[in-house]
């Protein structure tokens, strides 16, 4: 398997002092769904912007689909799809017109364009509103149109920047279902940023947790959760069962056992394998059980573990946000971007 994305020591410094991205290195395999997870201002969008040749890196290098992002920005833009956080469709054009424009910009052959546009409109449930101006679209419709624009040219690598921001749970589920289908059909690589933990957990083959411009942990969702200490199996005996504690502790893989409120909390790497063993141990001792349950650690705990902070979705503007805002403002005043 070859690498679809390689980043080596990628850095972005705004205004000569604020390090938005601080020397990150990672690689994404072809066909993989790779998630950048982190709070606002962690450097997710800045990284994605550098990988898509929207921003130039201050230091380091990156290749996407074998193309250097600095040396071949135009070829790169042809091969990748990009779905922005915000809606970028033209509000004064219809959904169909927006897609036709995108088809022309991304070089979909003229003769294939009507068919491709129609196919995407149908697939993204926009066929009925294809002739309506985008300004009349709902948030969910705009997101789907945005995705259609991003994949109009069947890109090899699809970049999604917080693609479901502001969508209701139903809309989010629908969005990810489409991504899943597309991926299965085309085998395209997906790089996404999100601060929805459950999305990263459900969608990504691998995750990088990014905080203050640095990658603090990478791995599959399961690996990351395992590193936090694995699953917790709760065993609730009927009546007094002090004899059960040493028996649970002796089971293979158990790292800790705590007794609280009449319930044993057993930590282990793989909870579902432990449950039959724990039940067996209780049966051997003649102890009746009221209930057994399994709790898997969520990425919330993972985030807390690696960054030392609670994951909060609505953090205020960070130093990076402010620096980016200021740099735009000052550049604007100097008359250049």
């Amino acid at each position: 398997m070859t690498e679809a994305i390689i980043a080596e020591g990628l850095s972005k410094v705004f205004n000569g002092s604020v390090k938005a991205v601080d020397g990150i290195s990672f690689s994404v395999k072809e066909g993989e769904v790779y998630g950048f997870l982190g709070p606002n201002g962690a450097g997710k969008t800045t990284t994605l912007s550098m990988l898509t040749a929207v921003l130039g890196p201050t230091a380091g290098r990156a290749t996407v689909d074998g193309l250097d992002v600095v040396q071949h920005p135009h070829e790169l833009k042809q091969r990748i799809g990009l779905v922005f956080q915000e809606s970028t469709a033209d509000q004064d054009l219809t959904g169909r017109e927006n897609l036709e424009l995108a088809a022309a910009l991304f070089g979909v052959p003229l003769r294939d364009t009507p068919e491709r546009v129609q196919e995407l409109l149908g697939r993204l449930a926009l066929a009925d509103s294809a002739e309506r101006l985008v300004k009349t679209y709902s948030g969910g419709m705009r997101r789907r149109l945005e995705l259609a624009v991003g994949i109009i040219h069947s890109p090899r690598v699809l970049f999604l920047d917080e693609p479901t921001l502001g969508l209701d749970p139903q809309g989010r589920a629908g969005f990810w279902k489409i991504i899943g289908e597309l991926r299965k059909e085309t085998g395209m690589t997906v790089f996404l940023t999100t601060h929805y933990l459950e999305e990263a957990d459900g969608m990504c083959d691998r995750i990088a947790i990014i905080d203050h411009g640095k990658i603090v942990a990478t791995g599959t969702p399961t690996e990351l959760k395992d590193r936090v200490g694995g699953d917790v199996v709760t065993v609730r005996p009927l009546g007094n069962a002090t004899a059960l504690e040493p028996a649970l502790r002796a089971l293979p893989g158990v790292t800790a056992v705590a007794f609280q409120d009449g319930t044993f909390r057993v930590k282990c790497p793989s909870g579902d394998a432990l449950i039959p063993k724990a039940v067996g141990a209780a049966t051997n001792l003649g102890i009746a059980l009221a209930g057994v349950s399994l709790r898997r650690p969520s990425l919330d705990e993972v985030f807390l573990e690696f960054t030392g902070r609670e994951f909060r979705e609505d953090e205020g503007p960070t130093a990076t946000d402010r620096a980016v805002f200021l740099s735009r403002f000052q550049d604007g005043r100097r008359g250049r971007r």
Binding site: V54, L55, T88, A89, L93, E97, L105
Partner: protein, 282 residues
């Protein structure tokens, strides 16, 4: 430049213009008001109907002040063409800023479209309206003469070459200002800043040109500045061809050359600035 990308982007601009009839209406309002009110009210050539003034003295007056135009309104109507190419092109730059704010430009910039495609499409689409408006102004000014108002009286025999010169002058002036305003649109981020800068450019450019003033009434220092003003250059091409070139120091093609210089320079600067604005930010 990629023809397919460029034409798709041009189509988009034209669709947007066509879907905004209010903007088309207001762009018509300004020149119509100027022709119906300002031009009528300022048509001071009536003052020449003084008893005792000989035809020779009247002709001398017109030659000195209006460089051979038959009356102020006719002189002014040609000037209005220069006026509308400024006022109708400034929106092309504003649209760039709004596209930045709405994220549309971000999408285009992230596509394989080059700065030349993006700039070229807006330049062409943005010049159609002012050029159309300029000819509308000329037509309307002529018509007014037939409904009992002061109108544009063409007193020279307009040759084919002259007509071509007029069209080229209008085209060049619109392209030049569209380039200027596009350059501003691509480099400025905030609409407030843009309109402040545009206002700071518009009035000085208009008021240092010979679009509205009777040439002979301008102090010589202002004539000196106005001689190099692109609006003056375009307007003079029109006036020479419509009223005769006897009182102009140069032939129309000389003014056209100056205008080409302005247009090429502005186009070059604007392309460069657009390229810089759309390049990955380092």
């Amino acid at each position: 430049m990629n023809v397919r990308r460029w034409s798709a982007l041009t189509k988009r601009e034209l669709l947007k213009i066509g879907r905004n009839p209010a903007a088309i209406g207001t762009s018509l309002l300004l020149p119509i008001l100027y022709l119906l009110l300002f031009g009528q009210g300022f048509n001071f050539t009536k003052l020449l109907n003084v008893p005792g003034l000989t035809a020779q003295q009247q002709a001398l007056f017109l030659a000195t002040y209006l460089l051979g135009a038959p009356d102020y309104f006719s002189y002014f109507a040609a000037g209005m063409v220069g006026f509308v190419s400024v006022t109708a092109t400034l929106f092309v730059g504003a649209n760039v800023i709004f596209d930045k704010l709405f994220g549309t430009l971000k999408r285009t910039a992230a596509s394989p479209a080059t700065a030349t495609d993006i700039f070229g499409a807006r330049l062409v689409a943005g010049s159609i309206q002012p050029v159309a408006l300029a000819f509308l102004v000329l037509g309307l000014a002529v018509l007014l003469g037939y409904v009992g108002l002061a109108g544009l009286h063409i007193t020279a025999a307009v040759s084919v070459v002259g007509a071509v010169e007029i069209v080229v002058a209008i085209l060049l002036l619109s392209l030049m200002f569209a380039s200027l305003f596009l350059a501003l649109g691509f480099t400025i981020e905030q609409p407030q800043t843009y309109f402040a800068v545009v206002n700071a450019i518009n009035l000085p450019v208009l008021l240092t040109s010979a679009a509205l003033y009777p040439w002979g009434a301008m102090p010589s220092w202002l004539q000196g500045i106005a001689s190099y003003n692109p609006i003056t250059l375009a307007v003079e091409v029109l006036r020479i061809n419509l009223f005769g070139g006897n009182f102009y120091p140069q032939a129309a093609w000389v003014y056209l050359l100056g205008l080409i210089g302005w247009a090429v320079a502005m186009f070059a600067i604007a392309t460069l600035l657009t390229q810089r604005a759309l390049a990955p930010k380092v």
